[in-house]
Amino acid sequence: MNWVSIGSAALMIAMLIFIFPRMRQAMKESPKGSSEDWKSFMIPLVAVIAFVVFLIMMVRS
């Protein structure tokens, strides 16, 4: 394992430590979404997935 991998691992551990309290706070404070809200999130997400699949197929052809 080279020093770049060790440095990357250290950076990720620091990120996890930094994010953890923010994640807990966000989980407590975020309003609960209704099924309609989640549907409005799933529509663009499915479109993004379809677009990425299209890009992969385009690059492969």
Binding site: M1, W3, V4, S5, G7, S8, A9, L11, M12, I13, M15, L16, F18, I19, F20, R22, M23, A26, M27, K28, E29, S30, P31, K32, G33, D37, S40, F41, I43, P44, L45, A47, V48, I49, F51, V52, L55, I56, M58, V59, R60
Partner: protein, 220 residues
């Protein structure tokens, strides 16, 4: 009568203020993206090593965590955001150089794809004006899991896990673009420097994950 005028003018002021934040955010975002691109080009031209890229990325993240929150409410926030985006752009240079050496069209496709996804999601959030604040907890948990999986894969080196992480990053960053854009529209984010930093990070992560995915799956 005066009371009525005051009540009626409040939403107008709020809309004007929101429009100003949106305009300032997109202006600053476009400038920082161009600057970041110039720094990435410089990194490629200098043939910067992955180690140099990592050092620049760490410097950018340290500034993002500790310097930007203290300067975002003042004029000092502008040079700080340029320094952060420049360092992160320089940091991504060695990875872009790697894929340019393999197949330059992959880099162009990832760049165009990132632009289309960002504009599409921003357009969706702006036209529907839906409030995506409910996604905050979900996105933070998703990001925590993705970083944990990336960390694990440094030691395990499983290609399938690496691809799964990239696919996950694309979905989480797409969610962050919707969340942040909706937050600006609904007045949750009133600081255009912080909004720019958040959108810039989403775009950068989206681009690097898409580049990785296209680089890995684009070849038979």
């Amino acid at each position: 009568m005066l009371e009525n005028q005051s009540v009626a003018s409040r939403p107008v002021e709020s809309v004007l203020s929101t429009n100003k934040v949106i305009r300032s955010t997109y202006q600053l975002l476009s400038m920082t993206l161009v600057f970041s691109g110039v720094m990435a080009y410089l990194s490629i031209a200098m043939q910067a090593s992955h180690g140099m890229g990592l050092v620049a990325t760490i410097a950018g993240i340290v500034m993002l965590w500790f310097v930007l929150p203290r300067t975002a409410n003042s004029a000092a926030g502008i040079p700080v955001i340029f320094a952060i985006t420049g360092l992160l752009g320089f940091g991504i240079g060695p990875m872009v150089a790697h894929y340019l050496a393999i197949n330059p069209s992959i880099v162009m496709t990832a760049l165009g794809g990132t632009g289309v996804i960002f504009l599409g999601l921003s357009g969706y959030a702006m036209t529907t004006r839906k409030d995506f604040s409910f996604m905050g907890g979900f996105l933070m948990v998703g990001m925590f899991v993705i970083i944990g999986a990336s960390l694990l894969n440094i030691f395990l080196g499983i290609p399938a896990l690496s691809l799964t992480v990239s696919a996950g990053v694309i979905m989480i960053m797409s969610g962050f673009i919707l969340y942040e854009t909706s937050s600006i529209i609904h007045g949750g984010e009133t600081n255009y420097i912080m909004a720019t930093a958040s959108l810039f990070l989403s775009i950068l992560n989206l681009f690097s994950a898409l580049l990785h995915l296209l680089g890995a799956l684009g070849d038979d």
